[in-house]
């Protein structure tokens, strides 16, 4: 285990050390970051199959653009956690602020608490599992990937949605423009079962508890008669 004291050694040294592992043959596969104290951009741009545990809460963009790594935050995460993630896994033990998983293209983001507004905004292939609730405007313009919410969703879920799959167990305060409830088919139940398993939530819910939401695809080609929807 490599222990890195962020307060003593600094952010630049941490990220450089993690970047140096790209393509390297290394036994330094387990990392622990102590004293994060809400710092921004912790473990961003990592591209190595390593495990990183952050012992405390993080500021903006923790695990941004992650590839391959498994990053656990033993606390809560600030805005934009795992933004544009490519692959790997990011697990937040606490809550996540705005834009969690924004534009994520792959990998898995698990938030064991609640996520704030715009969770999964513009997601492009990432899988997101939220054990609690998600805030308003979540999955705005979400393009692809899956989000599984064990709690409730706030206003305007899935506004201007493209092809992402949204699964919510609790209530949805309101659906955004062009987002509708859709039929749950066996292939969707299989996706949910997989997300529950990988999202460490099998003990909390079962696939049949969820409803599926997706795009009505009415905004895919501009039509003046839909102008009031924009």
């Amino acid at each position: 285990m490599q222990t890195f004291d962020l307060e003593a050694q600094g952010l630049r040294a941490l990220n450089q050390a993690l970047h140096n592992l790209k393509g390297a043959n290394t036994n330094e596969t387990a990392w622990e970051v102590v004293n994060p104290k809400g710092s921004h951009a912790i473990a961003v741009g990592v591209d190595a199959p390593i495990d990183i545990t952050v012992r405390g809460s993080t500021g903006y963009y923790c695990a941004g653009m992650n590839k391959q790594a498994t990053i656990r935050v033993k606390g809560s995460a600030g805005p934009g956690v795992a933004e544009n993630m490519m692959s790997g896994t990011v697990i937040i033990d606490g809550d996540a602020s705005q834009y969690a998983g924004a534009t994520g293209r792959g990998g898995l983001l698990v938030i064991k608490g609640n996520a704030s507004s715009r969770c999964g905004i513009s997601m492009k292939g990432i899988d997101i599992v939220v054990h609690g609730n998600i805030g308003h405007m979540s999955c705005f313009m979400a393009q692809s990937g899956n989000i599984l919410v064990l709690g409730d969703a706030g206003d305007a879920l899935g506004d201007s949605l493209y092809e992402a799959h949204l699964f919510v167990r609790g209530t949805v305060k309101s659906l955004g423009t062009d987002c509708i409830e859709k039929e749950m088919r066996p292939e969707h139940l299989a996706i949910i079962a997989d997300l529950l398993k990988r999202g460490e939530a099998e003990h909390l819910a079962k696939p049949s508890d969820f409803k599926r939401y997706g795009s009505a695809r009415k905004l895919y080609t501009f039509n003046i008669d839909n102008a009031s929807s924009y």
């Binding site: 990220n15 741009g45 490519m86 293209r105 493209y162 895919y220 080609t221």
Partner: protein, 441 residues
């Protein structure tokens, strides 16, 4: 018929034929007019400025013997690897999707041969452009289409796009006609649908967030790459100051003449300011912060000639960017395609339906039949020629003003032909010492 004189028919200025035609078009189609390009209005522009040239009080440099340097450094504030270009004319961001792959290749070929940079656009980085561009600026846009850390790291600079001169405050729309399999794949979207690009970034709002976002990008790229911030010409004094505060190495300022791949005509013509009005305000912001020349300023929007380059630099820009002019150099709107333009209901020089993907010149299209008409090697050579000519023209003027580097041009080398130009540029009206607005007059 009466023999008495009668009042001849008189067209309304307010309800001109053009205006009436647009009203009829809107009534018939139920959609606003979307087009490419920048503002077509007659705007105060560099044409309203003149160089004074040398005289008794200052002497010129010999045209073909005394050196007038043209190189420029970009990103010297924080980047470990700042960019050094041979000429201060760069190629502005234009997306693959809006442009064909061969057109992007030609931009890379021409720019590299002339010693300057190209810029990606709202569609990710293509191999054509990376492979043929010695220096490539990678745009970081609200849509994040195609964004990934590997391309960030293989870029030579990163441009965080906040706004664009053609549409400050606006997002984008790439209509379904241009969403080929390849474009759709790069953007993670279904083929053939209209693709909306958001007007705000998904994971930050405001200057304080931007500062953190820039820091994140620097961390991901190990502080190697220059970070540009591109703004539309809306509030250039404050936007420039805030970009500097947020940590930009370079500010890119785009006036309303700057082109777009597709935006509402009403937006293009009614939002934003001409570049002439923007430059002095941005330079003032840099000077007030003590950052002029330390944070470099690239300006764009209607740069066509070496004279425009020289005027922009005399007003305080470090470099310029061209988009529309580069496309014209490649062959866009060339009269040789006139019969085909006519079939599309337009004429060479006026063709602006770039979003429809039916460009006869094969540049703003994803149709293989059309883009295969375009020769990227020849296109690159034409662009190189044009860039070289612009540079020579700017040098000619700079030497006449007694300057041994384009960066030594200054507002004192200029006068204005119009009161508007004088007021916007902050230089005297020709033949007077009057700068409108200065000292309360």
């Amino acid at each position: 018929m009466s023999d008495f004189p009668h009042t001849p028919p008189k067209q309304s200025w307010t309800y001109s034929n053009d205006v009436n035609a647009e009203i009829r078009r809107a009534a018939a189609t139920g959609i606003y007019d979307i087009r490419g390009g920048g503002s077509k209005r007659k705007l105060p522009h560099f044409d309203d400025l003149l160089f004074l040239g040398a005289s008794i009080s200052r002497y010129p440099l010999e045209g073909y013997r005394e050196k007038c340097a043209t190189d420029v450094w970009l990103g010297t504030r924080y980047a470990k690897k700042p960019i050094h270009l041979d000429i201060p004319v760069t190629i502005a961001g234009m997306s693959f999707g809006a442009l064909s792959g061969p057109a992007k290749e030609a931009l890379g070929r021409g720019a590299s041969a002339a010693g300057t940079s190209t810029t990606t656009g709202d569609g990710g980085m293509t191999e054509e452009e990376r492979g043929h561009s010695n220096t490539l600026v990678y745009q970081y846009l609200p849509s994040r289409y195609g964004m990934n850390p590997d391309d960030l790291r293989r870029a030579d600079a990163i441009e965080v796009v906040v706004g664009q001169g053609a549409k400050p405050g606006g997002g984008g729309m790439l209509l379904g006609q241009k969403i080929s399999d390849r474009v759709a794949k790069m953007r993670n979207l279904p083929k053939g649908i209209d693709q909306r690009s958001a007007c705000r970034h998904p994971d930050w709002t405001g200057p304080d967030d931007l500062e953190i976002k820039i820091m994140e990008i620097r961390e991901i790229t190990d502080w190697e790459k220059p970070i540009y911030v591109k703004i539309g010409g809306a509030r250039p004094y404050y936007d420039t100051a805030l970009a500097v505060k947020a940590g930009a190495d370079v500010v890119v300022l785009d006036g309303m003449q700057g082109g777009t791949a597709a935006t509402q005509d009403v937006f293009i013509e009614n939002v934003g300011m001409p570049i002439l009005a923007c430059i002095p305000l941005a330079v003032k912001a840099l000077q007030d912060l003590g950052m002029h020349r330390k944070v470099q300023l690239i300006v764009s929007g209607g740069i066509r000639t070496g004279a425009d380059v020289a005027k922009a630099m005399a007003l305080g820009a470090d470099a310029v960017a061209i988009g529309t002019a580069a496309l014209i150099a490649l062959g866009d709107n060339d009269p040789k395609w006139e019969s085909e333009y006519n079939k599309l209901g337009t004429t060479a020089g006026a063709y602006d339906d770039w979003h429809e993907g039916r460009d006869p010149a094969g540049i703003t299209t994803q149709d293989p039949e059309l883009f295969n008409r375009f020769d990227p090697i020849l296109g690159g050579r034409r662009l190189k020629n044009y860039l070289k000519v612009m540079t020579l023209e700017a040098q000619t003027i700079a030497r006449a003003c007694g300057k041994n580097h384009l960066h030594n041009l200054e507002p004192e080398d200029l006068c204005a032909l119009t009161i508007e130009g004088a007021a916007m540029a902050g230089v005297p009206l020709a033949g007077t010492n009057w700068i409108p607005g200065k000292n309360g007059f």
